[in-house]
């Protein structure tokens, strides 16, 4: 493999976008979580919601800032490393990215100021309006970015001009390309899952040290409720998205499943080592016949294998195959964690039996904290590497989209990115982790709400929490 300008530019884009996607996939969910926390505080005036809001809003501000900085790099790379792509395609996707800045980024950036600096100045209701606006802004941002990417995955509503550039002929077809709805839902759910797992891990970490911390108990239950519902839903949406891939990008689907031959009753490869040169899997652990059923919904369906496509039209197989398994494996682990947590919540109506009291569950939540980020990056590897050798599927090859720059220049910029990102984002990430580890309460502060005490034994409701005891404790 030659380290030419094309490969180096791809590596640079992959490196910078993998860093970038960590932040929006967290802030999309966190903005909505903050809106929920503030709404619940407004409705109940319970101190724990306010404390949690003030804790997570600091982390949101830092993550938002790092997301912006890493995002700016992405757009400039389109000019520096992918100038041919920009020249040909920007009349179509340029406006989509501009709409993202104008309708989403400005909205978020404007009202973030009210969120951070204006609670006393504007009062609770207007502050809540600002928080909700920022949360909606993050979703609008995801809408435009996924719209642009979905068009690159399955271009529609465009025409080619005599000079080779593309022009939009039908903007609605461009914005709502056929794969957009499933992909948008898949990304937003992934963001919610990522945030729920981080909130769950942070709360579990605190509870392992401060088992009675009310805020962390509350946040853990909210996070568990979220991923118990969203993780199975994500499986359904992911399956719908996969069925779209079968229709519009059969070569990507063949790489995802490491299918080489076109046939009915394809096997499902749990694990395999695809060999592109030999056009076969060197080894595989498979379940016969159910591959067609999983990918197309029926075992008798004929699914194209990679040999049905010319070698120069095939995506890299091993990377796509394994990235997909990492994503799905983590998704299944999230479903299992959510089911365990939901069972513990249902079982744990009595004190000492809820999820916060089960240390193996708390450790499992801590271990799964980064799983959302890993799954998101793995999912994007499947989407983007699986689209190769095209940058705009079926329209523009990646090799024809790169800037006419030398490998030396790209090596230098890639090296600079590696060093700068390692310093800047490591410091930022470590600071966020330190904030999370410190927890929602300032050092030495008493818990804002005392634990609910059980009723005396022998009483008919002896195992149930006693709200009167709670209120009495709070008065003291």
């Amino acid at each position: 493999m030659d380290l030419d300008a094309l490969l180096l530019s791809r590596l640079q884009f992959a490196f910078t976008i993998a860093f970038h996607i960590i932040f929006p996939s967290f802030t999309i969910g966190l903005a909505s979580f903050l809106a929920v926390l503030e709404g619940l505080w407004l409705a109940t005036r319970r101190e724990a919601f306010k404390t949690l809001y003030l804790f997570w809003v600091k982390i949101f501000a830092l993550s938002f800032g790092m997301g912006v900085v890493s995002g700016v790099v992405m757009s400039y790379q389109l000019g520096t490393n992918w100038s041919v792509f920009s020249t040909i395609v920007s009349p179509v996707i340029g406006p989509l990215l501009a709409f993202e800045v104008l309708t989403a980024f400005f909205l978020e950036a404007s009202f973030l100021g009210v969120m951070l600096f204006g609670w006393r100045k504007v009062g609770p209701r207007l502050h809540f309006t600002a928080t909700v606006t920022v949360a909606v802004g993050t979703l609008i941002s995801a809408f435009w970015i996924i719209s642009a990417n979905s068009w690159m995955q399955h271009p529609a509503g465009f025409g080619r001009m005599p000079d080779g550039t593309l022009r939009a002929l039908d903007w609605m077809s461009v914005i709502f390309s056929p794969t957009f709805p499933e992909r948008f839902a898949h990304m937003v759910l992934a963001a919610y899952l990522t945030t729920a797992l981080v909130v769950g891990a942070a709360s579990a970490w605190r509870l392992l040290r401060q088992p009675q911390e009310t805020e962390s108990r509350l946040a853990l239950r909210m996070a568990v409720g979220m991923f118990a519902i969203v993780a199975p839903l994500q499986l359904v949406v992911g399956d719908l998205s996969g069925k779209e891939v079968l229709q519009v990008q059969p070569a990507k689907l063949a790489a995802i499943e490491a299918f080489w031959e076109t046939r009915t009753e394809q096997p499902f490869h749990i694990a395999a080592w695809p060999d592109r040169a030999a056009e076969k899997n060197q080894w595989e652990i498979s379940i016969p016949k159910i591959g067609s059923w999983i990918t197309a919904g029926e075992s008798a369906a004929e699914i194209k294998g990679l040999k049905a496509f010319a070698p120069e039209d095939r995506p890299p197989v091993a990377l796509v195959f394994w990235a997909f398994r990492v994503m799905v494996g983590l998704g299944l682990a999230m479903i299992a964690l959510g089911a365990w947590g939901a069972w513990l919540i249902l079982r744990g109506r009595r004190p000492g039996r809820g999820p916060e009291a089960v240390r193996p569950f708390l450790w499992a939540c801590v271990a799964m904290g980064p799983a959302g980020f890993v799954a998101v990056i793995a999912g994007w590897i499947v989407a983007e590497v699986g689209r190769q050798p095209y940058v705009v599927y079926g329209v523009l090859r990646t090799a024809d989209a790169v800037s006419p720059v030398g490998a030396g220049s790209v090596s230098a910029s890639l090296l600079a990115f590696l060093v700068v990102y390692a310093v800047v984002f490591s410091v930022g990430a470590l600071y966020i982790l330190r904030l999370i580890a410190a927890g929602p309460l300032p050092p030495g502060a008493a818990d804002t709400e005392p634990p609910i005490k059980p009723r005396p034994p022998g009483y008919a409701l002896g195992a149930a929490p006693d709200p009167a005891a709670h209120e009495e404790e709070a008065r003291r």
Partner: protein, 48 residues
């Protein structure tokens, strides 16, 4: 030192009049927009 991230008003604290709260609301939003625009134009000028 006052908190950088402003907490909510204390329970029972009197709120400023509505016009003042709205003025802060739109003032802070406009400041955010202007700050974003300033950074964008600075980057654009730097790259010219």
């Amino acid at each position: 030192m006052p908190a950088i991230i402003e907490p909510p008003p204390e329970p029972g604290a009197t709120q400023p009049p509505l016009w003042k709260r709205l003025a802060w609301f739109f003032g802070l939003a406009a400041a955010g927009t202007l700050a974003t625009a300033a950074v964008a134009y600075a980057l654009k000028a730097l790259l010219k």
